[in-house]
C-alpha cells in the first residue's frame, strides 16, 4: 500500500470536503414551519416523558454549540426521536437528520419529516458515499448530525459491529463525536413493529471523542485503519454507556 497521506486525500475527495458548499445549501436542508417547531417539539417532549419517562443522562457532556456528531446504538425507530428530545432546546435547532430517499416517495412521511426537522435524503442502498459526503458537508456547514454506526437497526437489541464511515467523517472533518446510548427504545418499539409500547427510555451521553489525535496517526498508517481505530473506541464508549 502506498503512503497513508495519499489514501487520506482520496477519502477527502470522496467526502467532497475540499469543494465549496453550493449557494443554496441551507435551502436544501430547511423544511418548513420552523416557527411552529419548538411548540411541536415541546408537545412531543411531554408525550415522551408521559409515555416513556424519557430521561437524558450526561447532558453536561454535550458541547455548548454545533457542529458535532452524535453516534448511538440503533435498535428502534424511537432512538433518534429519544436523542433529539433529550437535547437542550438551544441545540435542537442545529440538528439535521439524514433519511432514506425511500420516504421521499411517501408524501405524508416526507412532509412530516420536513415539518419536524431540517433534513436531507440520501440513497442508502448502494451509494453510501452520497450519504457520507452529504453528512460531511452538513457538518462543515456547522450543524449537528446523528449517525447510527451500526448502519441498520439491530433485531435483538444487541450492538452490531460498527461501520468505519463515522470514523472517516469525524477524523477528516476534525469534528468530534458524542457517544450516546439509548436504553429501552428496543423494548418500546423493536424492529419489525409499528405500535410502541409504554416502556421507560433513557439516553446517556458520553464524553466527547476528539478526532485530532487520530488525524495525526494518518502519517504513520493507512487512513482506513485510523478510522477503524477511532470507530472501535467509539463503540467501546457506547458499550460503556450501556452498563
Amino acid at each position: 500500500m502506498g503512503t497513508s497521506q495519499d489514501t487520506s486525500s482520496h477519502w477527502r475527495r470522496l467526502l467532497k470536503l475540499d469543494e465549496p458548499l453550493p449557494k443554496d445549501f441551507e435551502k436544501h436542508l430547511a423544511g418548513f414551519g420552523s416557527s411552529l417547531r419548538p411548540r411541536i417539539h415541546g408537545y412531543l417532549g411531554k408525550v415522551a416523558k408521559r409515555d416513556f419517562g424519557l430521561k437524558g443522562i450526561g447532558i453536561e457532556n454535550l458541547p455548548d454549540r454545533a457542529p458535532f456528531i452524535i453516534a448511538s446504538n440503533h435498535s428502534s425507530s424511537l432512538d433518534f426521536p429519544a436523542i433529539y428530545l433529550s437535547l437542550p432546546k438551544e441545540l435542537r435547532k442545529d440538528v439535521v437528520v439524514m433519511y432514506t430517499s425511500f420516504f421521499d416517495r411517501i408524501f405524508p412521511i416526507k412532509m412530516a419529516i420536513k415539518a419536524l426537522i431540517d433534513s436531507f435524503s440520501v440513497e442508502l442502498d448502494g451509494n453510501f458515499w452520497q450519504a457520507l459526503s452529504m453528512a460531511a458537508r452538513v457538518l462543515k456547514y456547522g450543524k449537528i448530525v446523528y449517525i447510527a454506526p451500526e448502519g441498520q437497526r439491530s433485531w435483538d437489541g444487541k450492538l452490531l459491529p460498527f461501520k468505519v464511515g463515522v470514523g472517516a467523517l469525524s477524523v477528516e472533518t476534525g469534528i468530534p463525536v458524542v457517544p450516546a446510548y439509548v436504553k429501552g427504545a428496543h423494548e418500546a418499539l423493536p424492529r419489525g413493529t409499528v405500535i410502541p409500547k409504554k416502556h421507560p427510555i433513557s439516553v446517556s451521553f458520553g464524553k466527547l471523542i476528539d478526532p485530532s489525535s487520530f488525524a495525526e496517526k494518518k502519517s504513520e498508517r493507512p487512513a482506513y485503519e485510523v478510522y477503524r481505530d477511532f470507530t472501535q473506541i467509539l463503540r467501546k464508549e457506547i458499550v460503556g454507556l450501556s452498563r
Binding site: 500500500m1 502506498g2 495519499d6 489514501t7 486525500s9 453510501f128 461501520k163 472517516a168 487512513a223 482506513y224
Partner: protein, 78 residues
C-alpha cells in the same frame, strides 16, 4: 492472468488482507469475501500510488469483484 493482472491481484490482496489464492476474481469482494466496502477507497488509492491513475467516484461505487478492479485499472492505465 497477465503480469499486470497478477500485480493488481497482489496489491488488492495486500489492502484487503486476504491471501491471493483465496480471492476468486469473480467473487463479490464485499458480499462473498466480507471486505468492508469502504476499503474500496484504499484499493483505488493503492492503484493510484502504483500506476498514477485517477479513478472517478462513479466507477469506485460500481466495483464488486477483482475482475471489475482489473478492468477499470487497465482502462485507466491505457
Amino acid at each position: 492472468m497477465s503480469d499486470i493482472e497478477k500485480e493488481i491481484k497482489g496489491l488488492v490482496s495486500k489492502v484487503v488482507k486476504i491471501p491471493e489464492d483465496k480471492i476468486d476474481p469473480n467473487a463479490d469482494l464485499f458480499k462473498d469475501l466480507g471486505v468492508d466496502s469502504l476499503l474500496g477507497v484504499e484499493i483505488f488509492a493503492a492503484l493510484d500510488n502504483k500506476y498514477h491513475i485517477d479513478i472517478p467516484e462513479q466507477k469506485l461505487i460500481k466495483i464488486k469483484t477483482l475482475n471489475d478492479i482489473i478492468a477499470i485499472a487497465k482502462e485507466q492505465i491505457k
